[in-house]
Symmetry: C2
Subunit: 165 residues, 2 copies
DNA sequence: AGCCATTTGGTTGTGCACAATTTAATTGTG
DNA sequence: CACAATTAAATTGTGCACAACCAAATGGCT
């Protein structure tokens, strides 16, 4: 808001400028955090009919697009590790939407495949994107532009985190 | 990714237009979700010295800016309810950063106030925003623009969720 | 063959997010 | 004053995210 172009003091102990930085920072991290949770809330409503949570829906999306995948590949697509996926997939299996079975060729690998019921859900899921887009009130191109910026942001952040800063 | 107009390698037993929607959708929800987690990862690294998690840092930010607040107000600033804040604040209290005490005027209310140690941490926290900004590789104005769009998005999504769709 | 680093999932523990329920204090109304 | 409605926190239960650790399988190496 009132972000006057401060002269960037060299890491001061605690003058007024630092307050300003802390406020601005709040807008950076905050807006993203809040938007993510707000999205989650809308998905919660929209996906209630399907009986899926948002991350479960993401898993099904990947399976619908790529078919059967080992847990590893699934994790790469979604940037999730086994600590998150294992219990999630177990719940999807309990719900009858996927099956998990050890690969015959590599006994370390577990193949995740959608069941008949899981594939059938795809037909009911096609309306989800439209409802979400409607909830945003954004034009499709605007959403695409935003996604593009966020993707660039994610790439940069991942790189920074990997470099330990 | 490669949004080339590929002839859709007939993996799935389903029409074409719906697949397109499901792919686009993935970019909408996905990029935000991924960016949020990527941010979290960078904050994890940067905040490790302070011994704070990202949500704990957000709580301290609000307290530094507004001083003592009841849990309710804190939740309004952060869009978090008592189910999230109660255990979080308990951990902050154990860490010696805040104190919680029942309001004398309204015994239902719990006032959260930063301790001396909590206030002192503010001095060490002023460098956080700069490090985060550096990690994004974005210009400050670009970040501001993005935040603005995300804020608008959040407002729209909240409204939609409240209306049950 | 035997050995060892790597790969792949799973498990455990900590913490956040949120819905639903519970308890206590306050406020409004007759 | 008594009593219903409201409000503020805490609690409980489910699920996601991730670090740290563990076990089994694989593949390369001598």
């Amino acid at each position: 808001m009132t972000t006057t172009p401060s002269p960037l003091p060299a890491t001061p102990p605690l003058p007024d400028a630092s307050d300003e930085w802390l406020r601005v920072d709040q807008q950076i991290c905050f807006s993203l955090h809040a938007a993510s949770r707000a999205f989650n809330g809308v998905y919660r409503v929209v996906l209630k009919d399907l009986g899926l949570t948002y991350p479960q829906y993401l898993v099904m999306l990947v399976l619908w697009e790529h078919g059967t995948l080992p847990v590893k590949k699934l994790g790469e697509h979604l940037r999730l590790d086994s600590g998150t996926l294992s219990p999630l997939l177990k719940r999807l299996e309990t719900a009858g939407l996927v099956r998990r079975e050890r690969s015959a060729r590599d006994e370390r690998s577990v193949e995740v495949r959608p069941t008949e019921e899981g594939e059938a859900m795809r037909r009911r899921a096609v309306e989800v994107p439209r409802r979400i887009l409607a909830a945003t009130g954004f034009e499709i191109d605007e959403v695409r532009a935003l996604s593009s910026r966020l993707h660039a942001l994610t790439t940069a952040l991942d790189k920074a985190a990997a470099e330990g800063a």
